[in-house]
């Protein structure tokens, strides 16, 4: 199994499943669990089908160099998006994702609609389906991109899919035990780490797709990750430092 792929997929999926779980929990608590579970299962099956169809097609029909270039480039974009948001949250320029607040807000909306029943309610199923599908699309995207680019090293898609599945089951298990929004999960830390990994792998595969090479081959992934990690810490420190004079000026006024 390609461990790096499985770990990246696990971490990214954990974050997305926690967000989806919050909405599913609202549906389960305010309406009923049958609807919440039905919607979640339907979305999970849809996602599995998307991964199976696109993942297989991409690996079989696209030449590996072109695949690495395109996927690598897309992963850089995706990774930079995650990394930028995580850096902004760490530096205080963006609010942390508050699962509890989202839970309270969505629950208030659902209670206002006054839908309380024991039977399967289509609108509740749709809400659970939409939440799991939307958050799961990012998981599917990471599984397909990571898995297809790592296909040359072995069971890339399978490794990524296993990582995602384990994350999903773990979130479900913890959620079933806790039965409240998973606010203790260090979401921003996970997003930061995933952002670093996506950007690292994206950079690595883009260069390989351009027929370039890296010193020490695959081992250079660690060097790349370290470079991006150090640079990110430097950006966070810089942003925090830039905010202090601005806050001081505002206080003086």
């Amino acid at each position: 199994m390609v461990w790096a792929v499985a770990i990246a997929s696990f971490l990214a999926s954990a974050v997305e499943f926690v967000e989806a779980f919050t909405i599913v929990l609202v549906v389960g608590v305010t309406i009923n669990w049958r609807s919440a579970i039905a919607g979640s299962i339907a979305a999970a099956v849809s996602l599995a089908a998307i991964i199976a169809v696109f993942g297989t097609a991409i690996v079989y029909y696209v030449p590996i160099d072109l695949l690495r270039l395109i996927v690598g480039f897309i992963l850089i974009l995706f990774g930079m998006k995650w990394l930028k948001k995580a850096i902004l949250r760490y530096s205080g320029l963006k609010a942390l994702h508050d699962e509890e607040a989202i839970f309270e807000e969505t629950m208030a909306e659902m209670r206002a609609r006054g839908e309380v029943t024991t039977r399967i309610l289509p609108s509740a199923v749709a809400l659970a389906f939409k939440a799991v599908l939307l958050e799961g699309m990012e998981v599917a995207f990471i599984v397909i991109t990571f898995g297809s680019s790592a296909a040359a090293q072995g069971s890339g898609i399978a490794s990524a899919a296993i990582g995602a599945t384990v994350a999903g089951l773990l979130v479900l298990l913890v959620g079933a035990l806790v039965r409240s929004p998973l606010k203790q999960v260090p979401e921003n830390t996970l997003k930061f780490v995933v952002g670093i990994m996506l950007t690292t792998f994206g950079t690595f595969w883009t260069v390989e797709g351009l027929h370039g090479s890296w010193p020490f081959a695959d081992a250079f992934l660690l060097v790349l990750a370290a470079i991006y990690l150090l640079a990110s810490f430097a950006f966070i420190t810089w942003l925090k430092g830039q905010q202090r004079p601005a806050l001081a000026q505002q206080t003086a006024k």
Binding site: L88, K94, T203
Partner: protein, 65 residues
């Protein structure tokens, strides 16, 4: 248009990152035509990635001041 915007928001959601990295890819493709510069492809990509990240973070900072 809505679909393009949805895909853009899903993938990157930041024009500086998209344009910056697209230009980087173009530059790297051009570099591939010069034999002597092949070995610098990786370094150039890393530097441009960090530069683009820095520019977009600065824009966020300025926008929030």
């Amino acid at each position: 248009m809505k679909i393009i915007k949805a895909v853009y928001d899903f993938l990157v959601g930041d024009m500086i990152i998209l344009v910056g990295m697209a230009l980087a890819l173009l530059l790297l493709t051009l570099l591939q035509t010069i034999e002597a510069l092949h070995s610098y492809t990786g370094a150039v990509l890393v530097v441009i990635t960090l530069l683009v990240l820095g520019i977009t973070l600065r824009r966020e900072l300025v926008g929030r001041k």
